[in-house]
């Protein structure tokens, strides 16, 4: 039940004006909080980082690598693999030789970003440098447990096809005899080849200048 405003000696017009004013202040405050947050966390950093120049050693993705990157997104690799190397003294990335700490300039050609937030599997920022073998990647994508016992990674058989004989361009999966199909070979499809091209191309071992290394390196042991 609405209490009568006359009880409290307030003019009805003033009261509506007051209610309107209070709602206005409320919505203004609500709007301001969100937009200030956006400016601080996204807007200002966007201006700062937009001046970053691409490092000399970083190459643009080839067409095949870009296609491979879209397969990486399609199959949801980012839910288990990060693409960022932590700084010295923070975690064991350095001790595991996963590469120098990543910097904003390393990601200049990445859209969408694939930094990731999970390491069910290892970081892939330098997987091309760490594991350049095409043969290994073929086996690993066909069935991860062939080369990495205990892995919980899913197999990706639809990136491969069975053939009677492999053509000259085909990448054949070097399956052990025990699991190889009789009289047939398994070769990578165009999608599989592109994904491997992307993975092997992922090599950020080139040097970057100290100035661009403005990453989150506060913690020093």
């Amino acid at each position: 039940m609405v209490r009568s405003s006359a009880d409290r000696g307030i003019n009805r017009g003033d009261q509506i004006g007051m209610m309107f004013f209070r709602s206005f202040i409320f919505f203004l405050g609500v709007l301001a909080t969100l937009l200030i947050g956006w400016a601080g966390l996204v807007g200002i950093p966007n201006m700062m980082i937009s001046e970053v120049q691409p490092p000399k050693g970083l190459e643009r993705y080839t067409y095949e690598q870009s296609f491979g990157r879209s397969i990486y997104i399609r199959e949801g690799c980012l839910y288990c693999h990060s693409q960022q190397v932590r700084p010295v003294g923070y975690g064991a990335d350095q001790a595991r030789f996963w590469g120098r700490p990543s910097v904003p300039a390393d990601y200049i050609y990445d859209k969408p970003h694939l930094l990731g937030t999970m390491r069910t599997g290892p970081d892939l920022f330098n997987i091309g440098a760490r594991q350049p073998s095409e043969e290994w990647h073929l086996l690993h994508l066909y069935n991860p447990r062939i080369v990495s016992p205990g892995s919980v990674m899913p197999p990706f058989p639809w990136l491969f096809e069975e053939k009677i004989t492999a053509g000259p361009e085909d990448k054949v999966v070097a399956l052990p005899d025990s699991i190889a199909p009789k009289g047939k070979v398994i070769v990578a499809t165009a999608e599989g080849r592109a994904l491997i091209a992307y993975l092997i191309g992922m090599n950020h071992t080139y040097p970057v200048s100290q100035a661009s290394a403005s990453n989150d390196t506060t913690k020093k042991k």
């Binding site: 039940m1 609405v2 209490r3 409320f26 919505f27 405050g29 609500v30 709007l31 909080t33 969100l34 947050g37 956006w38 601080g40 966390l41 996204v42 950093p45 966007n46 980082i49 937009s50 997104i73 399609r74 199959e75 949801g76 980012l78 839910y79 288990c80 960022q84 923070y90 975690g91 064991a92 595991r96 700490p101 990543s102 904003p104 390393d106 990601y107 200049i108 050609y109 990445d110 859209k111 969408p112 970003h113 930094l115 937030t117 999970m118 390491r119 069910t120 990495s148 205990g150 892995s151 919980v152 899913p154 197999p155 990706f156 639809w158 403005s214 990453n215 989150d216 506060t218 913690k219």
Partner: protein, 495 residues
């Protein structure tokens, strides 16, 4: 004397000084009748997505135990089922059920029939189409590649449009309000009506590249919680706890402090998802500071909710709604304090990149938000369906399956994740050791997930019964146990 008993129905603070009479009750009945169909539509479709989303989540969980299981088809690979799970439970279940609850709450709190109900039907249809389109796209691999923003643009657009229609109805109702005082729940509801469209628009501007896109991604993802999901849950907790117990909220001023501190600090939190990442140090530090500052709104809300409940724990024995909602509000305190600590660099060094984060996320979205939504559905449905829940024992089963399941889930993932992080940070161990160490915890997680799914099936079954008014007729509220005072006073208040 009959009138006297009706006035025992507790009322929240804003009207507690108004003398209640039979016409008061009629006003409430009219308000409830104005929203019956839209609320049932929101709840029913939300529960549909809950079942589907839980199945997807459970399948994704089991894939950690049996990586080859359902591994032959691209549609069911882990990397597609996981985003299907997240997006259906967030944008399908939690959003639609939350919208249903908000519609009902807004009518009650503005003490007026909900306006522009046609917009609510349009909203529910657009929203469901958006989720459906998005889910099918994800199965086919059309993923935008950013967590929480996976749905292709058209699907996201349909949902955003649905939200605008929804907000239109809520704000129209607010403008017709018959109350002078705005209750705390309404602040959260109104703020989110404004926040969510802005958040979504700004996130989709497409002006971000490289690492700023990552900053935007996590600003958005964390803020989806800050400007939509958490306000929904808190609006529910602020309403149902005092309502069921029958006393006003502990402190209005703490509510005020909690709201504005929440608005100020929460939307600065997102970048703690990128601790140790290739972003400017100050940016991550700002987010950590804001995350720790969340202690202020969280403690204000915690004191308010828990001190309102204090001394009335006996009620948890009887009221299903209160049991779910109090579980939810306790989870909110726990998950928020955990989150503040988790954002610290030293803690993140171990917990980041591990299953610990997954456990934390589920404590928030399930332990807090979903439990409050369950409580809300149990409270609202008898009032709009004019039929009591037929089987209180099934409500009890649902509660214990959900509560036990989420407890097992969170404990297993937090312990397993911590061990995983510790081993990952020990370079003397091979990386695969951190995978193998988590396996038994991941099995426990699957068991917890199965329990939750059973709870949801029981919930959905009884929901179908109540909308068709089937099952044994019940003329007293579906309390868990016969409530002595209710039996004495002849109170006819629903669960």
């Amino acid at each position: 004397m009959a009138v006297q008993t009706i006035t025992k129905e507790p009322f929240v603070s804003f009207a507690s000084d108004a003398a209640e009479d039979v016409s008061e009750k009629q006003v409430r009945v009219q308000i409830d009748e104005s929203v019956t169909s839209p609320v049932v539509l929101y709840f029913a479709t939300g529960i549909g997505w809950l079942l589907f989303g839980s199945l997807a989540g459970l399948a994704a969980a089991i894939k950690f135990n049996l990586p080859e299981w359902l591994g032959g088809t691209p549609f069911l690979t882990f990397g597609r089922i996981r985003p299907v799970h997240l997006n259906t439970v967030m944008y399908g279940w939690a959003s639609l059920a939350g919208a249903g609850m908000i519609v009902w709450l807004t009518g009650r709190l503005c003490r007026v029939a909900v306006q522009k109900t046609w917009a609510l039907y349009v909203s529910a249809i657009l929203w469901n189409l958006g989720v459906l389109f998005g889910v099918v796209s994800l199965f086919f691999g059309y993923n935008q590649g950013m967590e929480w923003l996976e749905f292709p643009r058209p699907a996201g657009g349909l949902i955003a449009l649905g939200f605008l229609f929804f907000a239109y109805s809520i704000i129209s109702t607010f403008r017709k309000r018959q109350v002078e005082h705005l209750y705390v729940s309404l602040w959260y509801i109104l703020a989110s009506m404004l926040w969510f469209p802005i958040l979504y628009t700004v996130a989709n501007l497409g002006i971000y590249d490289g690492v700023t896109e990552a900053a935007m991604n996590w600003w958005f993802a964390h803020n989806a919680l800050a400007v939509w999901f958490t306000p929904v849950g808190l609006a529910g907790a602020y309403y149902f706890i005092p309502k069921v117990i029958g006393r006003p909220i502990y402190s209005y001023y703490l509510g005020l402090l909690g709201f504005w501190a929440f608005a100020l600090f929460y939307n600065w939190n997102g970048i703690h998802h990128l601790v140790g990442g290739p972003l400017p140090t100050w940016l991550v530090t700002v987010s950590i500071v804001a995350s720790v500052m969340m202690f202020v709104p969280v403690m204000a809300v915690a004191v308010n909710h828990h001190l309102t409940t204090l001394g009335h724990f006996r009620m948890l024995k009887y009221s299903p709604t209160l049991r779910f909602v109090v579980f939810g509000s306790m989870s909110y305190t726990a998950v928020s304090l955990q989150g503040s600590i988790e954002s610290l660099r030293s803690f993140s060094e171990v917990a980041h990149f591990t299953h610990y984060t997954i456990g934390h996320a589920h404590l928030g979205v399930y332990g807090f938000l979903s439990m409050i939504l369950f409580g809300a559905v149990y409270y609202i449905m008898p009032r709009i369906a004019k039929w009591e829940w037929p089987y209180p024992k099934l409500i009890k089963l649902h509660f214990w399956m959900s509560a036990g399941g989420i407890a097992l889930y969170v404990i297993a993932m937090c312990i397993g994740g911590w061990i995983q992080g510790t081993m990952m940070n020990d370079p003397s161990l091979p990386f695969i050791a951190s995978v193998n160490a988590t396996k038994s915890y991941l099995w426990a997680r699957s068991v917890g997930g199965t329990m939750m799914l059973i709870g949801h099936l029981v919930f959905a079954y009884q929901f179908v019964l109540i909308i068709y008014r089937s099952g044994p007729a019940r003329y007293v509220p579906a309390w868990f146990e016969v409530r002595p005072t209710a039996a004495l006073t002849g109170e006819t208040k629903s669960a």
